[in-house]
Each structure stands twice: as structure tokens, then as C-alpha cells.
């Protein structure tokens, strides 16, 4: 108790320099995480979204982590400051927004946490945004480029996005969303045993998640009419809009696919085809991993075929 009081006093004192801020934050990082998590927990309790289970604890931890990350970066520009007060103000400001968290009971399942974690990451990471086309519909980078009708420069970017996602992005997103390797394997097993049921469940959860996170780009990214989509592709502009909106809106993606069907004959219609692991570099390697049944492989012959055909 005495230690906590001492720590609290220390974090409430004025920090004058960036170096002092970094040093103090590194020393008391667990305490800061606990404080941020406590704020998230209290918010969930106060809004009637709390239950005493590990899923809710993980949710609170994850939001505490994200808010603490912002504090650690923005606090360096706020010195001189009192760290505790600054952390509290950042958290308060965040939770004062309308619907700050994507909360739904069904999203607390491993599949829900996975989908929510991926989509949440896609809001801040273009790598994750591009990877959504693969994780949700099974499209490779080449197919993404064709569906979105991107130019040469944008296409190169897509390939880079996929590469980075494969190397580090996916692991980080999964780790931060709190989905364990055991849970991933459980989902993969469910997909193998009851693919239709998992597909329907994923479809339902994806709509929930996409509806929430699409609001993070409010009036700038509304759903367009069929004609407007046609104009946009015909006149060849607004690549960012296409990337963002079609990754976050399944209905519009289907609409665009139908619009450009003549050019996308060899690509299947966008249907939920959940992929938990990132797209591997070569189809053969992926197939090998699939047959071995380990690592980042993809169970199921259909997936392996699509992978080997499109990833070159």
C-alpha cells in the first residue's frame, strides 16, 4: 500500500524533460497499464457492458494498452506535465467520444476477437486494411489490385502492404487482440468441421464490426450508388476511397464486383472465406505447410488452390 502511494505521488509530480518522461514511463509501465485498464474497465461497467470473465478482462486490457501507447507517444510532446493527470485526460477524452469501443457480446468469442482485432487494426494500418481482403474473402494481392482497379504505383503499394503484413503485421495484430495460438487452431478446426456454420457466424460478426469501424471515416466514405461506383471506376480516380470503403463494406464490394464482372472473370465473387493466417509468399510453400498441418498454412484444398494460383 505504501509502495502504491509512493508511486502515485511520483507519477503525480511534475516531469520536466522528455528524457525524464521516458525514464519514468519505462519504470512504471505496468502500473500505467493497470491504470489505463482500470479506466477501460470502469467505462465498460458504467455503460453496462461488463462481466467478470476473461473476455472482458482481455478487452479492458487491450483498450488500456492502446490508450497507454498513445499516452507514451503524445506525452513526450506535452512535457512539462504530470504523467498521471495526462494519462487520465487522454483516456477521458477518448471515452467522451460517442461509442468509443466496438463492443458486442458476440465479439468476445475468439472468432469475434480475431475479426474485431483485424478490423480495428485496419483502421490505423494500411497493411491490415489490404490484408482484410485476404482474411475475409481470400483475395490475394493480385486479385485485390484487379478488383480495386488500381494503377501501377498503387499496385506496388499493395504488394508491399501484403509483404509487411506477412512479416510482422499479422503477428502483432493477433498478439494485441489477445487471440492465442490455441484459439486460432480451434477456429481453424471449426472451419474444417463446420465450414458453413463458421461462415455464417463470420458473416454476421463481420457486418457488426464493419458497421462500427466504417463510422471512423464518417461523411467522407459513404456507400455509393451503383452508378457512382461505375463513374468512379470509369473515370479512374479516388483510389484511397476504393481501398478504404470496399475493405470495410461487403455490400459495396459485391456491387463493384458485379459492375466489373467482365474484367474479373477468373476471380470468384466476394464471399466470406475466412483466412486466419497471412498469405504466404509462394503457393508451393503454403501448400507444403498445409499438407504438413503446421505453421501458417491453410487447411483445405480449395484455399490452397486459390493461393497457388494467385500469389505469384
Amino acid at each position: 500500500m505504501g509502495e502504491r502511494q509512493l508511486l502515485s505521488t511520483r507519477l503525480s509530480t511534475l516531469v520536466s524533460t522528455v528524457e525524464e518522461f521516458d525514464r519514468l514511463a519505462a519504470e512504471v509501465l505496468p502500473e500505467l497499464l493497470d491504470r489505463a485498464t482500470g479506466h477501460a474497465r470502469r467505462f465498460l461497467r458504467e455503460t453496462g457492458q461488463w462481466a467478470d470473465d476473461i473476455s472482458h478482462e482481455k478487452l479492458a486490457l487491450r483498450w488500456g494498452y492502446e490508450l497507454l501507447e498513445r499516452f507514451l507517444v503524445s506525452g513526450r510532446t506535452e512535457v512539462p506535465c504530470r504523467p498521471f493527470f495526462l494519462l487520465d485526460s487522454i483516456i477521458a477524452k477518448y471515452f467522451s467520444q460517442p461509442e468509443p469501443l466496438c463492443y458486442h457480446k458476440d465479439l468476445l468469442s475468439p472468432l469475434g476477437r480475431f475479426l474485431e482485432g483485424m478490423t480495428s487494426r485496419a483502421v490505423v494500418s494500411r497493411d491490415a486494411l489490404m490484408a482484410l481482403f485476404y482474411h475475409l474473402y481470400g483475395f490475394s494481392q493480385g486479385q485485390v489490385v484487379r478488383i480495386l482497379g488500381l494503377g501501377t504505383v498503387e499496385s506496388q503499394r499493395v504488394y508491399k502492404n501484403f509483404e509487411r503484413w506477412r512479416q510482422t503485421g499479422w503477428q502483432r495484430a493477433v498478439s494485441e487482440s489477445g487471440v492465442s495460438e490455441m484459439e486460432l487452431r480451434q477456429i481453424e478446426e471449426d472451419k474444417h468441421r463446420q465450414p458453413e456454420r463458421l461462415k455464417a457466424e463470420a458473416d454476421r460478426l463481420i457486418r457488426l464490426v464493419q458497421t462500427h469501424y466504417r463510422r471512423s471515416e464518417p461523411e467522407h466514405f459513404p456507400c455509393l450508388t451503383h452508378q457512382k461506383w461505375a463513374d468512379l471506376f470509369e473515370q479512374d480516380y479516388d483510389f484511397d476511397y476504393r481501398v478504404w470503403h470496399l475493405a470495410m463494406c461487403r455490400d459495396c464490394l459485391v456491387d463493384v464486383y458485379e459492375l466489373r464482372q467482365d474484367e474479373l472473370i477468373d476471380i470468384q465473387s466476394p464471399q466470406i472465406d475466412l483466412r486466419l493466417r497471412p498469405l504466404q509468399k509462394g503457393g508451393i510453400v503454403s501448400l507444403f505447410w498445409t499438407q504438413q498441418g503446421g505453421g501458417n498454412g491453410h487447411p483445405g484444398g480449395q484455399s490452397a488452390q486459390r493461393l497457388s494460383r494467385t500469389s505469384a
Binding site: 519505462a26 509501465l29 505496468p30 497499464l33 467478470d52 470473465d53 476473461i54 478482462e57 482481455k58 486490457l61 487491450r62 494498452y65 497507454l68 501507447e69 498513445r70 507514451l72 507517444v73 503524445s74 510532446t77 506535452e78 485526460s89 487522454i90 477524452k93 467520444q97 487494426r121 483502421v123 490505423v124 494500418s125 494500411r126 497493411d127 491490415a128 503499394r157 508491399k160 502492404n161 509487411r164 503484413w165 510482422t168 503485421g169 502483432r172 495484430a173 498478439s175 494485441e176 489477445g178 492465442s180 471512423s216 471515416e217 464518417p218 467522407h220 478504404w244
Partner: protein, 440 residues
């Protein structure tokens, strides 16, 4: 929660803490494309592969509350919580690079200006270091820096070439030794092998000759480079001397300027005041001289008037001589023969009597000066009154005699005037002679 869930939760917490401890935020060399989020909405990107990328964003409706900069992978490299109203400048380090951002927030919006500043590469840093070192030396301009850099690069290339040649030679020697060693046991029984070995030796000789030529060429190049370096160093020294000379001249000028500047406020004022005093004194002196000259001129004019008056008086006092004039005029006058002839032979012109009459009129119109003495006991006021009555101007007073000047009207002769003046009760005597006043 059971123990297993607790351990899962603890493991998750540790993973998150580890991610916070090692965000690999500082390790990234090339941030690539940076995404800018305002109030958690992506408003644009900053392409760091371009030269000096900048981003300007203006919000006209909603106030700017938070700004985040993330890589394409989602890594948070910069975060800023804006105040309600005000302006602030922030700098985010991104690995070795940096982002400079200025935020101006209002209640109804705001403006963000963002600029990515890439760190300078090792070449640039090396050049900067060399430039800063050379910049310390006097008299080096940009062209000499370029020369120095070119020389340094040339020297490095030459050194590498020499090393390569030496290594090649050593390798060839080693090979030739090995060949000789390998060939020597076989060369004894076989003539063909002898021929081969001689060919090999010839080849080695040729290689050695080529190597020597290459070395000689390299040495010549080195000598040339050294000479050029010496020449450049001489030039640099000359430029340095010239600059030193320039500096010393500049210092001298500055010192002079400083000296003059040091004197000006006090001494210059004193000098100016002294000059002004001298000028004032000279002006006074000049004024006095002018006054004296004026007085002298007046005295001269009065003297001249007196002389003319005297002459007139003298002329008037010569009536007998004037009566004898016609007599003399009737006789032959050698100075005026033509006039005499004209008067005698020709009828008189109508202008002739007028010309004759003009002369006395001109004489009478001039001022008339005389001396007057007054009765004893006459007051100065009476004297002044009399002088005013005759419109006279009082001059010198000597031994009771007053010098008075009057301008007589044309018809009045001086004698009549003097006679009338003598009749005044206070007047004792009147005379025209100044030099010998009557009674003296």
C-alpha cells in the same frame, strides 16, 4: 476466473507490456508512407520517399482534438493532443528522421501543417564534416571544397588501385612459384613440358612487364596528383594570405571607423562650437568694419558736400570776376573757339539759352552747408527748433559754431538765405567757411 484463465490473462498482459517496451519505433530507417489521423480519422498521407513532403490540412467545422501519425503498418510514431484554442509546434522523431508539425486550433476548426525532414545520409554527413573542418580554415570557398573532395576521392581510388595491383602481383607470384614447383619435376624428362614451362615463363615475364608498366603508370599518376595537390595547397595558401590581408585591412578600417566614432560625440561638438564662435566673432568684426566704412562714407559724403558748397560759395563770392567774364569772352578763347564762332557768326539756336540756363539751376538744387553761431544763453531747444524750421541737418559743433546743411529751394539764392538767417534773433553770425570759423 480459474488459474488457467489467470495465467492466460497474465501472459496477455506481459505480451502487451513487451510490445510497449519495444515498439521498434526508433529502429525504422525508412518510414515510407505515413498516415495522418485527425480525431482518429485518416485525413491524408505523407510520402516520405519524396523530397521534403508536406501535408496541410484545414478543418472548417470540427475542432482538432487529436493528431496521430502512423506508418502503413499502423505503428504509432507521433501523437498529439491539441488544446481547444491556440497554436503549437511539435517535432516527432521517426527513427533518425523527424516530422515537424504546427497546429493552429480554433473552436470551429483548425489548420495542421506537417513536414517530413529526412535525416542526411552518411555521404552528406561525411561531406558536412569535411566541409565544417575545411570551413575552419581561412580562405576556402566552395570551389576549393569541391577540389578537396575530388582530390580525396581520387586518392582513395588510387590507393584502392594500388592495393589491387599489389594483390594481383602477389597472387601472380604465388601462382608462378606454384607452377615452377609443379613443373620442375616434370620438366626434366619431357621436352614438351620444357617448352610449356618456357612458354609459361614467357607469359609470366609478360605479366610482370605489364605489372611494372602499370605500377610505373600508377606512380606517375601519383606524382602528378601530388604535384597537383602541392599546387592546390599553394593556391590555398595564397588565397589564405590574401584573405588575411583583406581581414587586416578590414580591421584597420574598422579601427579607424571605431576611432572616429569614439571622437565624434564630444570633440566634434566642441570643434563645431569653436567654429561657430569664430564665425560669430568674424561676423561681428565684419559688422563693425561695415559700420566704420559706412561712417567713413558718410563723412566723405559730408566732406564732399562741404567742398561743393565751398566751391559754390567761392563761385558766388567771385562776382567781379564774373563781370569781367564777357570781356574775357569777347577776346579770343583758345579752349572754346567753335562756341565763340557760333555765338558770333551764326544765329543762336533755340536750345542754346536753355543749356546756359540749366547750369545755375543744377547748382542751386544741391545742398548748402554753412556754419552758424548763436547768441549767448540760447538754449539747445531753440537751436534745434530753428534748424528744424529751416529744414536743416545739424553736423559738427566746434567752438560754438554749428555746421548745418540745408537744401535750398531753386529760386532762393544762398546769400538771401544767409541774410534771412542772420535776421533771426538767436543767430549771432553765419558763415560758409568751415576751416576758419569766424572769430577765431
Amino acid at each position: 476466473m480459474d488459474i488457467q484463465e489467470d495465467s492466460q490473462l497474465s501472459a496477455y498482459r506481459e505480451r502487451l507490456l513487451e510490445a510497449l517496451r519495444h515498439p521498434s519505433r526508433q529502429a525504422r530507417e525508412d518510414p515510407g508512407l505515413l498516415q495522418v489521423f485527425v480525431n482518429h480519422e485518416c485525413i491524408g498521407t505523407l510520402d516520405c520517399s519524396h523530397a521534403d513532403p508536406t501535408l496541410v490540412f484545414a478543418s472548417h467545422e470540427r475542432p482538432i482534438q487529436t493528431i496521430e501519425i502512423r506508418t502503413e503498418a499502423g505503428l504509432l510514431v507521433g501523437s498529439f493532443c491539441a488544446q481547444d484554442v491556440g497554436a503549437k509546434a511539435v517535432r516527432f522523431p521517426v527513427g533518425r528522421h523527424a516530422i515537424e508539425m504546427s497546429v493552429h486550433t480554433r473552436l470551429d476548426g483548425g489548420i495542421i501543417r506537417m513536414k517530413y525532414q529526412a535525416a542526411k545520409g552518411w555521404r552528406h554527413r561525411l561531406h558536412s564534416a569535411v566541409a565544417s573542418f575545411m570551413g575552419g580554415l581561412p580562405g576556402l570557398d566552395q570551389r576549393e571544397h569541391a577540389w578537396t573532395r575530388a582530390l580525396a576521392v581520387t586518392q582513395v581510388v588510387l590507393a584502392l588501385a594500388v592495393l589491387f595491383l599489389v594483390a594481383d602481383r602477389v597472387a601472380d607470384l604465388a601462382k608462378s612459384q606454384a607452377t615452377v614447383v609443379q613443373v620442375s619435376p616434370i620438366s626434366i624428362p619431357s621436352n614438351t613440358s620444357q617448352a610449356i614451362s618456357s612458354e609459361a615463363l614467357a607469359l609470366q615475364e609478360q605479366k610482370l612487364v605489364r605489372l611494372m608498366q602499370a605500377q610505373e603508370a600508377a606512380l606517375k599518376t601519383l606524382q602528378t596528383q601530388q604535384e597537383e595537390i602541392v599546387q592546390v595547397s599553394r593556391t590555398v595558401e595564397a588565397v589564405a594570405k590574401a584573405q588575411q590581408q583583406l581581414r587586416s585591412n578590414l580591421l584597420t578600417v574598422q579601427q579607424r571607423g571605431a576611432d572616429s566614432k569614439g571622437v565624434t560625440p564630444s570633440k566634434l561638438n566642441n570643434l563645431l562650437l569653436a567654429e561657430l564662435r569664430n564665425a560669430a566673432a568674424e561676423r561681428k568684426q565684419m559688422h563693425q568694419q561695415i559700420q566704420e566704412l559706412t561712417a567713413g562714407k558718410e563723412a566723405l559724403s559730408s566732406a564732399l558736400v562741404a567742398l561743393e558748397t565751398r566751391n559754390r560759395v567761392l563761385e558766388q563770392n567771385r562776382p567781379p570776376q564774373q563781370s569781367a567774364g564777357p570781356k574775357l569772352a569777347s577776346g579770343p578763347d583758345p579752349e572754346k573757339p567753335a562756341v565763340a564762332k557760333a555765338t558770333e557768326g551764326a544765329p543762336p539756336s533755340p536750345t542754346a539759352p536753355a543749356q546756359v540756363a540749366e547750369a545755375p539751376r543744377a547748382n542751386l538744387s544741391q545742398p548748402f552747408t554753412f556754419w552758424v553761431s548763436f547768441q549767448d544763453g540760447t538754449s539747445e531747444a531753440s537751436i534745434e527748433q530753428l534748424i528744424q524750421e529751416i529744414h536743416g541737418r545739424k553736423g559738427q559743433v566746434s567752438a560754438g559754431w554749428y555746421n548745418v546743411e540745408v537744401t535750398l529751394p531753386q529760386p532762393q539764392p544762398p546769400d538771401g538765405f544767409m541774410e534771412s538767417l542772420r535776421k533771426a534773433k538767436i543767430v549771432k553770425a553765419v558763415t560758409t567757411s568751415r576751416n576758419i570759423p569766424p572769430g577765431q
